[in-house]
Symmetry: C2
Subunit: 763 residues, 2 copies
Amino acid sequence: MNQDYIQSSEWSIIEEGFDIERVKSSESLFSIGNGAMGQRANFEEKYTGATFQGSYIGGVYYPDKTRVGWWKNGYPEYFAKVLNAPNWIGIDVCINGEHLDLFTCKKVENFRRELNMKEGWLERSFTATLQNGIDISVETKRFLSLELDEVGAIQYSVTSLNSDAEILFTPYLDSGITNEDTNWDDKFWDTLSVNFENNQAFIEARTLKTDFHTCTFMQSQFFENDEEINLQSEISQTETKISLAYSKVIQQNQTLSIHKFGGYVVDRNHDKEKLVAVAKNVLSQVTNLGFNTLLEQQKKSWTKIWNSADITIDGDIKAQQGIRFNIFQLNQTYSGKDALLNIGPKGFTGEKYGGSTYWDTEAYCIPFYMATKDQKVARNLLEYRYHHLEKAIENAKKLGFSKGAALYPMVTMNGEECHNEWEITFEEIHRNGAIAFAIYNYHRFTDDYSYIPEKGLEVLIGIARFWYQRATFSKDKKKYMILGVTGPNEYENNVNNNWYTNYLAQWCINYTVENIERLKGDFSSDYTRILNKVQLSQAEIEDWTSVADKMYFPYSEENQVYLQQDGFLDKELISVADLDPSQRPINQKWSWDRILRSPYIKQADVLQGFYFFEDNFTNKELERHFDFYEPFTIHESSLSPCVHSIQAAKLGRMEQAYQFYLRTSRLDLDDYNHEVEEGLHITSMAGTWMSIVEGFGGMRIKENMLSFTPKIPKQWKGYSFKVNFRNNIIKVNVSQKETTFDLLSGDEIDIFLNDKHIKVTTN
Amino acid sequence: MNQDYIQSSEWSIIEEGFDIERVKSSESLFSIGNGAMGQRANFEEKYTGATFQGSYIGGVYYPDKTRVGWWKNGYPEYFAKVLNAPNWIGIDVCINGEHLDLFTCKKVENFRRELNMKEGWLERSFTATLQNGIDISVETKRFLSLELDEVGAIQYSVTSLNSDAEILFTPYLDSGITNEDTNWDDKFWDTLSVNFENNQAFIEARTLKTDFHTCTFMQSQFFENDEEINLQSEISQTETKISLAYSKVIQQNQTLSIHKFGGYVVDRNHDKEKLVAVAKNVLSQVTNLGFNTLLEQQKKSWTKIWNSADITIDGDIKAQQGIRFNIFQLNQTYSGKDALLNIGPKGFTGEKYGGSTYWDTEAYCIPFYMATKDQKVARNLLEYRYHHLEKAIENAKKLGFSKGAALYPMVTMNGEECHNEWEITFEEIHRNGAIAFAIYNYHRFTDDYSYIPEKGLEVLIGIARFWYQRATFSKDKKKYMILGVTGPNEYENNVNNNWYTNYLAQWCINYTVENIERLKGDFSSDYTRILNKVQLSQAEIEDWTSVADKMYFPYSEENQVYLQQDGFLDKELISVADLDPSQRPINQKWSWDRILRSPYIKQADVLQGFYFFEDNFTNKELERHFDFYEPFTIHESSLSPCVHSIQAAKLGRMEQAYQFYLRTSRLDLDDYNHEVEEGLHITSMAGTWMSIVEGFGGMRIKENMLSFTPKIPKQWKGYSFKVNFRNNIIKVNVSQKETTFDLLSGDEIDIFLNDKHIKVTTN
């Protein structure tokens, strides 16, 4: 079902009308987050219809037992999963003793939900007739503070419309929660204490196995109409829940409101013995500020984000809404403040993919964060992998590698591998290349070389060692080969000589050697420190180089293209256009073997290499490869269309580029894949941003300067985007007629526009 | 640990001395079975040390939930597993109120265990000093009747050595059992009733999900010295257990014995409402006969088996013991009476591989049963697959095939696929070929063509359709290819154009078409019936043929060998001899990806094809392929050495053939793989038989006659084997000097000896 029920709006996501079938999808779409935590848009009040409850804390995960039919040596014992965290948003609402529950109300009308992306809050309002005949109107607003990222605030107001009524608000904390994907009644949380003091309540809970300590907390304030009132609480508690009930009779047309403040403090940031004390401080700080002041702060924080990250699209409101939704969600997921956190494919909006880190971060997300935030943020993402280097070396050891070779995990929370399909875990090794590429990309964009001598080179050396050891020599072809891999196109498994992987491997070795040379000249103390630390000899470097020099690349003379892998031409090459549409998506309709023997490409593979290393190929070559591979590309990964959009734009095929762009920009809003209820596709949202900035805008780094070759889809009047380049914020305005620039921050900047050098200054 | 603690003996497996470390291994080695049921050699009396309890009923299994990390379309929902069945052998023994438990006795001496293969019984004796100071000697003998295959008998005798003593025998039935491989406290059995009548006791239990109904039963007789006595029972029972206690004080040096009869009746053979009544009949029949008469029957039954199946080896007692152990276990596992049963890789000796049917049956076991039993037995094994044809068609449908294409499951209990690794389940499709080959093999050996028009052709058509649909056309090579398969060498996954698979596919199509033609001429009513039933047209047959005619076979001109699969020469071709021995077995030492990219071959792959279709290749070709592949073959499948032994013998390399033979013949007795405690390698035992009969003896069918080209390892003085060929039983005696024949049944038979025609007659 293509839901398409979201109202068009430039700055907001709006749903009107209550439909129980849409509740789970809307819970995803209206999710809120602040980088440190996030939550699905679950109702505060009781809801007995179908719902997918989720509140997540960044960095708090659980290592679930690996489940496989047949164990293979090297499989990780655990599979880290994101955990549904104790509920702090809950407010049971009773009207004259009857629970408010939208699933059982006699009537629900004027239901409206708005996620205001400009200011960062979620609002919901409706009128309802209860079974007891009372008509009420409800308005709620909530947000997770960007400024104080351990706390969220809820304003919940009930107006009795047709009579006086007793309103009972029962805000609660509940650690008796489970995951949607829980098997066999697993228990993940161990509740340590449930207590209260005055109007504050706390639940201390630790995760089993990982022993993350958390304190979930709440405090509430009450208002009759707009006037604050004091209400006495009645406390009830169980081993995993604490509820404070507050009631008041209000007259017809009067409004009783609760302002509930809550959230989590965790032992990543605080002494675990003092979590309750810290929570008390947080509560006293926010209750002093009050809901409205916190909300003003929130608006300011979001204004700041948009000031360096907004994209406008003129003449296409759905496209405008789509791109802002993507930018908004990326910012909700990752703020860049904490080098221990990363970007899960579903952010804080669902459980799938375990909330773990994939190569998506390096390949798709870093460009976005790098160009819209302070460069420290991208550097934090690089450091995340530096922190995991030892674990990557251990991981490689488990697979038989030695001498400091590092294989970064396919999926991880803490550096350990968390995935357990052999064809992915052991063979989708190109991820190692993306991690090296991100170091190059960061340096290229920021001109901050310091990361490499300080930390990056060690990562590069571990990766180069891996590729050197992973290659094997074919006497028959007199070349080094990389056998048994899975490329970015996961619709091929265990193939030989995936061109992208071989190319990255060669590049990684060469780039590492190049940086070793540079350090030797320019950073000799770092050079000595690192080479001693990792025990690297000149002879080893020469061994690497000989592998890189003799790397094999499968090539078709007839088609003048690199082959995605050995034997690609042996397939039955029926293009996607000629495939019976009833067979799609093939990942739902076909068994795995059928997918594997087909020519269909899940996402850019050879073309991903052309994207990373475009300067190494001519436009003619790009065109030939694009024309050869795109017809077999079935784009069943949300990460596929963006790379194709960028390359189509580069080839001047704007209509095609625009069509690819459309496939990602509203992927979730329009629920193309019929799965939005499971959560949002956060990492692919960064790809959508790339489609505009790198694709349409043609942003590149040339000669160490920003360069643009803007193009514009004929469907748009104009568009603009902002780039934070080395502390200059430049706004690029593209219309059907011309491209103009505004320098929003900084004094002046030299750039290329369509390969011509121009200077942009503050107006 | 290479256990090697079994005493050498021509006809028996003997263990002397009690070692708690060996209990689980011996439980496997001393297993007994009668084709309908089987059990590990668990002690009758209480044992609190490490033990692996197992009693299994043929055809009684449980569909466990499939466990995978990531679900793939087409995976079966369930994985059938063999179930540990209710315990009927248990006899608690108390001496003066103290439990006899070999784990806690003060002293255990003269412990001896014998599995008498000639007569089919298991014996155990020991003396023990209990904690209470009483010395006793114990003798037990038990067997599962071949004649009455629902029943087993135990004789358990206790002699008090140093004082008078009260002996308490408490025989019991217990359905409160679990599997060793149980996860998450799964419950498999639902006990329906526990009851008794006179001295008989019964537990009715049904398996959950599969709803197999069983009745486990027992009755006991008592003897003081050799005189039958009456003892009164004291009954105790729980929801899943019933115990009848019998006690008597005996004087020093006197012996109290219990004869316990027990077993299972199941609703595969009886009305499920009448199982208790049937069990009563069985018990009255066997108690009337008594232990000794039953034992005499047992000896006769085994004599009959050995009369047509024995192999003698003169001058090598360990080899003699090894081959008889193999023949014995094969006969314990499968009697051939019931076309609904088959041969699990571990028989009735353990839980691994789920007790299910693999292609082992067709490729390795049918030759043994065909040549040592009435041809009806092999035909029953063929019919097993005919009964599963509809399920094989359903299975193929799940994978996207249509129009009656059949893919037999890799692993099955009832025709449904039970395995869930995509590279096996979906891709190890060569199994389909072995099932067709078995039909050919049966006809070749027995000259019974009737199976093909009656049933076999339908199976062949389903298989031919599968291969036709599975092949894809490569425009590049202008050939049909079979992409994405796993060959018999499971150390390669998802390869293209596995030569063995492609060859089998081509052969299957051609053989099917050949048989269709024969039916058209000779069995026209069957022809019409079948072609109508399966809706097969001449056009479809022509389509098949065009695929078979244009099948692609990877070939190396340089090496003049067929390549195991595309790209085999791209590997780093280091021979097994040059591999660091500390790295072996690679399936324990290496991660899966490393195994996959290595050149190492788990079991014969190209050479398996040369074995099946040897007449299609010259000896020179065989030699070239053997010399090319054997050096990379690491023989980590128990099914590997036999095929190599046969081929080495064919090439006249007797020393090599003998070495290969040794690797299988005592695989379990000497516990080469350090895993015998999990159960025995039943199907590979048939391979050992083939090594002697087809390898050393050179038995073949030529010009529709038996043919022998006997060779003999220099280590042996002589050997003999028996073959049941078309109702003639011929004994082949090979010495270092000559080969002689005895016709044990039948009047005369024409055979080839070293390609010369001779006539063998009754002496």
